[in-house]
Amino acid sequence: MHGSITYLGYGLAAIGPGIGIGLIFAAYINGVARQPEARGMLQTIAFTGMALTEALAILGLVFAFVFKNG
């Protein structure tokens, strides 16, 4: 077997942000279900959180390509 271990590394690195984004949107859906009129405000907060959490996964994707040949 041959290939690059960075792909495996990226798969592992995506676990954390995956769980994080799941938690954020679970909370968002809960919030909207309980109080539909707060949707606009919650949406902003949920997407800010998602942007921050997803940044980790995106950095992982980039580093997978950066370290592939190095």
């Binding site: 606009g40 949406q43 902003t44 997407f47 942007a51 997803e54 994707l61």
Partner: protein, 276 residues
């Protein structure tokens, strides 16, 4: 084979499939597809450039032709245009930036959303089939526009450079925490935001397109070049799965256009808000 006759340079996985050689896994080099200007020229006119020109022409034609014949009772096309505008104006603009300040930014948001939507969906339109944003240059330019806009707006609203820097630190923090908070916030505003905004769009579009390519090229190889009934069956399954993944791609493409515009609005709302 037809492809290689048409273009000076055909991506490796496609030309290998056409030539009947060994299986070559699709990779990032499949996204480099120059049409005019040579193989190693960074300024070559590439396939995504062509798709981008088509996108702009389509959007320009559609919205200009709709806007020049507006009527109180909308036609079908006017209804579509109004729905898209309504979505950007109310769901993205007004709800995120706030009813007081959102109007000056609507042209930017609307342009970003429609441009991204069409150029992303170009990834699954037959015969076009290349998401423009899967080349990093296009997200980078769009992000540069957003980056300059939200910094300029913030500099104007918060009273120059010092006012902007002061607004990065929230009020009511203990003194020793302020420098740490300032470094973190400055990194977010100046580095992490543009980086993730461009890379999120690019990463999603490239990964999605690469996945479709793996299933199509792999399915073609299994079906035609292995000569085994079982592997041929696996190739047919792979093609069927491509159809499912194409529908999934459509969802992702819409979502990425929405998230990019949404985050632009979010950064702008930070820039126009009075306090942190």
């Amino acid at each position: 084979m037809i492809l290689s006759a048409l273009f000076a340079h055909t991506p490796p996985s496609l030309s290998a499939a056409a030539g009947g050689g060994g299986f070559q896994t699709p990779s990032t080099s499949d996204f480099w597809w120059p049409l005019i200007g040579g193989n190693n020229n960074s300024f070559a006119f590439t396939r995504p450039s062509l798709v981008m020109l088509l996108t702009v022409a389509l959007l320009g034609w559609f919205f200009i032709s709709v806007a020049s014949r507006l009527s109180l009772v909308p036609t079908k096309r006017q209804w579509v245009a109004e729905q898209i505008y309504d979505f950007v104006r109310n769901t993205i603009g007004r709800d995120v930036i706030g009813a007081k300040d959102f109007k000056p930014f609507l042209p930017l948001l609307f342009t970003l959303f429609t441009l991204l939507l069409v150029s992303n969906v170009a990834g699954i339109i037959p015969f076009v089939q290349f998401p423009t944003t899967s080349r990093i240059a296009f997200p980078m330019v769009l992000t540069a526009v957003v980056y300059v806009t939200y910094h300029v707006v913030a500099l104007r609203r918060k009273g120059g450079f010092m006012g902007y820097m002061r607004s990065l630190v929230p009020d009511g923090l203990p003194g020793w925490l302020k420098p740490i908070m300032f470094v973190l916030e400055a990194m977010t505003y100046f580095l992490v935001r543009p980086l993730t905004l461009a890379l999120r769009l690019f990463g999603n579009m490239m990964a999605g397109h690469l996945m479709l390519l793996v299933f199509i090229v792999g399915g073609e190889y299994l079906l035609l070049h292995t000569g085994s009934v079982w592997l041929g069956g696996a190739g047919i399954l792979s093609f069927l799965f491509t159809i499912v993944m194409t529908a999934f791609e459509l969802l992702i493409e819409f979502l990425q256009a929405f998230i990019f515009t949404m985050l632009t609005a979010l950064y702008l709302s930070d820039a126009v808000s009075e306090h942190h």
